[in-house]
């Protein structure tokens, strides 16, 4: 740690290095040996009473800024400003950071490990980092509005139960989509009936079916092709093997990508990056935490900032879009400007409850039931009502859809038995067997070649409504049908009493020409959650060093010295730069004037020229509408122009860029009421 600090000191520009040394060690004698000076300084600040004084002088503002630096993990001054802009102006922040650097609490460096070469970053002094973190940093200083609400908020409504229900709906309405990807009117109406309890949560500009289809696609649960939807049950079962919080976070991630897609289809961050973002966000706060929107935006900034190294595209995600997605889906709820966290990662699902299968062919799925446990029921029956408890109805058609999806009878029965209370009623088991036999009694193969079992053959062969569709019958029980007329002959079969015909097997089960494709967001590569991108500090307790500073001022005022020197000493004391009585001596070294103001235009011109020479920054104060306006300016040029008034001196103008926005400015020297030169150690153009 000492070496790290030493190296940092050695990397500082001379002007800053020697300023620091002079402040703590007094006037320096030539020849200057930086290593000796560093040794002397180190020896000084390692003394117990000096360290004690150092920490005693840390007040709330200091702690706030130190906490921000620590949370952001090597921020640049610009990033620190983004995070604290609600609290400090850029100039104020700059001055404070400089002060903390001079007080040896912060270091400015070029950390190669962050992969950010040529950028000056700010960090806690490694010598004091541990102690600062344990006692002087407090996240509540950055996010003051965090509190935890009493009671149990509702869990997010956009969850795996909703996906289960929707899969059931899709399975029963496989042709719900038109070729253009929009839902058919009948299916839309039916959807609204079944999902009335949640559809009201969605704003008018979003179609819930679209969102759900998107989620299923991202999770690889389903794909749309032409006007049919294919369900991938193996992906669903695989999803079910991960833990609850991971599943919920993945589901939430799909919503974020949906909204981002809506904004800009060409620029969608990877799903993994969103997943990481949400993991760190939603798992860093207790369920019931209430936080202001502003603070949550800051937290998101923090997380994004810390994800950038691994996921550079995370910068495409705005805080607003994340908050919108989470509010939409119930992970957050918003009242006025406050947001409540509704997600409990440790939620105990269903508390031992299981499916209830009843003789009236209804299946009830309890609240909080995992998708992997519900999926068999969802696919082999049709959702009737989506609510806290989902109600499914076992129908021949939905059972056939399950067979079509690749389940066989044993799998369906075991999937239901495993996940339900009690046994499956006999009438339902019987029906399953009968339906399975019926389904398998007819085969449809590419061509279309239909094969019929002997026991069904008479009914099919003699059905008058079917005869016109048989192009040929090359063998007993084998018929050739026209693939172009598939809709017609399916209707005719239904009319003749054959309402569950299988799909035509093509030999190639891959779904081609997907019609609804988001820009690929990639795949989830993680099955567990990873957090730790933000730290929370709670060691802070309120400190007020004003008494100490008053004592020091008293001491200084009693020292024999000129008023000018006393003022300078007091100024340093107020900046908390005095840690030891050994510093209480006025310097005899002539100091370069770093300020000018009022009508001393000449001094202002000289200061500007000096700043240009040293590449320092200027704090420029002007009067606008009778109010003082301060700016931090990087001067680029001092121009001189003839004065239009005869006999008057030339007009000097400071030209430069105002920080942090780098806006061009031109200020005549005469308009500057006060000018101060700052060190430019923090700013990188």
């Amino acid at each position: 740690m000492i070496n790290a600090w030493k190296n940092n000191l050695l990397s500082l520009p001379d002007s800053i290095f020697f300023d620091i040394m002079r402040n703590y060690l007094g006037d320096l004698k030539t020849p200057f040996n930086k290593h000796d000076l560093i040794r002397s300084l180190t020896s000084m600040i390692m003394k117990k009473e000096i360290r004690t004084r150092l920490f005693e002088l840390v007040d709330e503002d200091d702690s706030r800024l130190l906490t921000a630096v620590s949370l952001l993990k090597y921020p640049t001054i610009s990033e620190l400003f983004c995070f604290t802009r609600k609290i400090y102006s850029f100039l104020e922040l700059y001055n404070r950071v400089e002060n903390l650097q001079q007080r040896l609490l912060l270091c400015i460096e070029y950390p190669e490990k962050s992969g950010r070469k040529d950028e000056k970053v700010i960090r806690l002094n490694p010598l004091f980092e541990e102690e600062l973190k344990s006692k002087y940093l407090g996240s509540s200083l950055i996010f003051p509005s965090i509190e935890v609400k009493e009671g149990r908020p509702a869990q997010p409504w956009y969850n795996e139960q909703l996906l289960s229900g929707f899969i059931s709906f899709l399975s029963a309405n496989r042709n719900m989509l038109k070729n253009n990807g929009n839902a058919r009117k009948k299916a839309e109406n039916k959807f609204s009936e079944v999902f009335a309890s949640v559809e009201k949560n969605v704003p008018e500009n979003i179609q819930l079916p679209d969102l759900l289809i998107h989620s299923l696609r991202i999770l690889k649960f389903a794909e749309a092709s032409s006007s049919a939807v294919n369900i991938h049950t193996d992906a669903i079962l695989n999803f079910g093997s991960s833990e609850y919080k991971s599943r919920m976070l993945k589901i939430a991630s799909t919503v974020v990508t949906f909204l981002l897609k809506e904004e800009d289809a060409d620029r969608t961050p990877s799903i993994d990056s969103i997943y990481m973002l949400l993991s760190n966000l939603l798992l860093s706060f207790y369920c019931g935490t209430v936080i202001s929107r502003e603070d949550l935006t800051s937290v998101l900034y923090l997380i994004k900032r810390n994800l950038l190294a691994g996921y550079p595209e995370i910068g495409l995600v705005t805080g607003d879009s994340v908050i919108e997605a989470l509010c939409l889906t119930g992970y957050l709820s918003e009242t006025e400007t406050l947001l409540t966290f509704n997600f409990d990662p440790d939620y105990v699902q269903a508390a031992g409850e299981k499916l209830r299968i009843q003789s009236n062919s209804e299946i009830s799925a309890p609240a909080g039931f995992a998708i992997a446990e519900e999926i068999t029921a969802a696919i082999c029956s049709e959702i009737r009502n989506y609510d806290i408890t989902r109600t499914y109805s076992i129908e021949k058609r939905s059972f056939a859809a399950a067979l079509e999806a690749g389940f066989d009878l044993e799998e369906i029965i075991s999937g239901l038995e495993k996940n339900s209370t009690g046994s499956i009623p006999q009438n339902i088991l019987f029906s399953f067997g009968a339906w399975e036999k019926e389904y398998r009694s007819i085969g449809l193969n590419y061509g279309v070649v239909m094969t019929v079992s002997p026991d069904r053959l008479p009914l099919i062969k003699h059905a008058p409504q079917l005869k016109e569709f048989f192009l040929a019958s090359p063998a007993p029980g084998v018929f050739i049908l026209d693939p172009e007329k598939e809709n017609e002959w399916r209707r005719a079969f239904a009319d003749a009493g054959f309402d569950i015909l299988p799909e035509i097997k093509t030999g190639d089960d891959a779904v081609t020409t997907p019609i609804l494709g988001p820009k690929s967001a990639g795949e989830f590569s993680k099955n567990t959650v990873e957090t730790g991108l933000i730290d929370f500090f709670s060691g802070y307790s309120i400190q007020n060093p004003s008494k100490l500073l008053d004592e020091l001022t008293d001491k200084i005022n009693r020292l024999p010295m000129t008023p000018e020197k006393r003022n300078k000493l007091n100024a340093r004391s107020q900046k908390k730069l005095i840690l030891s009585d050994s510093q209480l001596k006025a310097s005899d070294r002539p100091e370069e004037k770093g300020e000018a103001g009022g009508l001393d235009h000449r001094a202002k011109i000289r200061l500007t020229e000096r700043a240009l020479e040293l590449e320092n920054l200027l704090e420029v104060t002007t009067v606008v509408d009778l109010e003082l306006e301060k700016r931090l300016v990087k001067p680029l040029k001092l121009t001189k122009a003839e004065n239009a008034l005869e006999g008057k001196p030339p007009v000097y103008t400071v030209e430069g860029i105002e920080l942090p926005d780098e806006k061009e400015i031109h200020i005549p020297i005469t308009r500057i009421s006060y000018l101060k030169m700052l060190k430019s150690s923090l700013y990188t153009p």
């Binding site: 009502n385 009878l409 006999q426 088991l429």
Partner: protein
């Protein structure tokens, strides 16, 4: 975070209530929520209730405020009550009492008092009420004959009426229930029957005396009717489904009350008697010489000084009778039924005109308490013979159903079932006369169809009751209101397509309590349209908690006639 609390009730956002039967506090919860919700279905694991405006208004009229409803729900609910449900409860209940119907000094007019001028404005703007309401002061005058119609229209508009206009007392009747029946047996009214009648009568208070009682077949709705008569003690008109039912009522009244035969009149096609207690059929009421004429027998409604009208099997209330019912709103009226289902969807009208549901009880609850017989339900599947496959394949839908229903193999099945139940009294029920005649011939059993004269029917029923015949074959005339106390097996060979009501009524033929279990068989042709209709028919009963076991009987030679149950039990059809 801990799991949701283990309570039996889940309140859903569509105002349905799911009640877990297996929870230890199920009964307590049920008793509390039944006061403000309707039982929709009660299968074996989860009962579904629904909070409707009507159920809430009923609760309000029974003195239950919105806060109490909320408290009861919260007491038993596993999760937080959805906000929209609480809002709806408050808003709906608060509507009750804002419109009050009161008497006036003019016996032909009533006064509808509205306590909010905005309501008056709203009602005035409704087209459907324009002809019915006469603006007066802070309300409206209503003609007495429009009482029912106004209430129906107001319910549709979302405004319940607190009906405090007194009901006509009718001519007083000296009516007493016996303690011992005429046949010498002890006669006590069961607690649920007393409760049902009490819920209807409401202690004689204003706002009661009109309503519907829904109870399972075989649970003694006739007794409830008699108890209601006991409470009202007034001339009573009873309207029922057919002459056999009329005679059943008459028998019951004589057997269980102190009414003399000369005090009971029959008003049917055969006789036109008006007595202090008169029993009529719906058919006679809706008879008219031609479509243009009036219904001449409607005058019965004003003929007997009735203080109580009982509509037996009220779900069958014919549409023409609605009109009259609307006009006789000043009379106490009681509807009795086992099923709420109507083909024309006018259940709400029945409840509006006759009265709201005052009492219902799950079928299985009565079975558990022994008040109705325990019944095992079976569906026996039998293949169509090969010889019929082609004609079935080439038939249209209607014909397909008929061919499947009249499957000749069913005869053997029925024969086998009758052999299996040698000690039981059996009814064989069907739709198609040819099939029924074949069965009757095979079984050497008497047959009752629509053409069987009433006198002959009575003789057959009597023989059946007395045990002189063990098996009878009946067409759908026997669906309703037959008193067959000793029938313990019903074999249904065909039915009216997918009629759930018919299935329930037929099961009801064997639900009267007895010492042995009852058996209900439905014989269905395999892989035919009959399967689909059968599944639909069974829906109502499975929703009442009955389970059906489905079996295939494909080889009768393997079935031993000595066994009560069939040997061949294909519980899961093997492919």
């Amino acid at each position: 975070m801990t799991a949701p609390e283990n309570k039996p009730l889940i309140v859903q956002s569509d105002s349905s209530l799911m009640l877990d039967v297996h929870d230890s506090s199920f009964e307590s919860a049920r008793n509390e929520i039944a006061a403000f919700s309707e039982l929709e279905k009660s299968p074996e694991h989860i009962h579904t209730y629904r909070i409707t405006p009507l159920s809430l208004w009923n609760a309000a009229s029974a003195g239950i405020p919105a806060e109490e409803v909320k408290d009861r729900l919260e007491r038993w609910s596993r999760f937080a009550i959805p906000d929209n449900v609480l809002f709806s409860i408050r808003q709906t209940i608060n509507r009750f009492g804002q419109l009050v119907l009161r008497e006036t000094t003019n016996s032909d007019l009533l006064f509808l008092e509205a306590d909010n001028p905005n309501i008056i404005l709203e009602l005035e703007s409704r087209k459907s009420l324009k002809k019915l309401l006469i603006r007066e002061g802070d309300g409206f005058l209503i003609r007495l004959v429009d009482r029912g119609s106004v209430k129906v229209e107001l319910i549709k508009a979302g405004w319940p009426v607190k009906d405090l206009a007194p009901l006509k007392e009718g001519t007083s009747l000296d009516f007493k229930l016996r303690k011992k029946t005429l046949g010498g047996r002890d006669f006590t009214i069961r607690d649920y029957q007393t409760e049902a009648a009490g819920a209807f009568f409401g202690g004689g208070q204003l706002g009661f005396g009109f309503g519907t009682i829904v109870m399972p077949c075989g649970s003694g709705k006739t007794i409830v009717g008699m108890k209601a008569m006991d409470l009202c003690r007034t001339n009573t008109l009873i309207i029922t489904t057919n002459i056999a039912a009329v005679h059943q009522w008459m028998r019951e009244l004589i057997d269980k009350t102190e009414l003399k035969p000369e005090e009971i009149g029959e008003y049917t096609g055969a006789r036109k008697e008006i007595k202090p207690v008169t029993i009529a059929t719906y058919q006679i009421l809706t008879w008219r010489p031609d479509k243009e004429s009036d219904f001449p027998h409607f005058k019965i409604f004003s003929a007997g000084g009735w203080g109580l009208i009982i509509y037996d099997e009220v779900h069958l209330l014919p549409a023409p009778v609605f009109r009259v019912t609307a006009e006789i709103q000043a009379v106490r009226r009681l509807g009795l039924t086992a099923t709420l289902l109507r083909e024309d969807g006018r259940e709400a009208d029945v409840f509006s005109l006759v009265g709201p549901k005052r009492f219902d009880v799950p079928w299985k609850e009565l079975e558990t308490k022994g008040w109705i017989a325990e019944a095992d339900c079976f569906e026996i599947r039998v293949d169509l013979p090969e010889s019929l496959l082609i004609s079935y394949a080439t038939a249209d839908k209607r014909q397909k159903f008929r061919i499947a229903s009249e499957n000749p193999r069913k005869l053997d099945i029925v024969n086998q079932l009758v052999q299996n139940h040698r000690e039981d009294h059996i009814i064989v029920i069907g739709q198609y006369l040819k099939q029924l005649h074949s069965l009757a011939k095979m079984l050497k059993a008497p047959i009752i169809t629509g053409k069987t004269p009433n006198a002959e029917r009575e003789v057959i029923y009597q023989d059946f009751r007395e045990g002189k015949v063990r098996v009878i074959v009946v067409s759908k005339v026997a669906n309703f209101a037959i008193d067959l106390p000793d029938a313990s097996v019903a074999i249904q060979v065909s039915g009216t397509f997918g009629s759930r009501q018919e299935e329930a009524q037929r099961l009801g033929r064997i639900l009267r309590p007895k010492e042995r279990n009852s058996w209900f068989y439905s014989v269905v042709s395999n892989f035919t349209t009959e399967e689909v209709f059968s599944a639909n028919r069974q829906k109502f009963l499975t929703e009442q908690g009955y389970k059906y076991n489905i079996e295939i009987w494909d080889d009768l030679e393997d079935i031993s006639p000595d066994k009560k149950l069939p040997i061949e039990k294909s519980e899961v059809y093997q492919s």
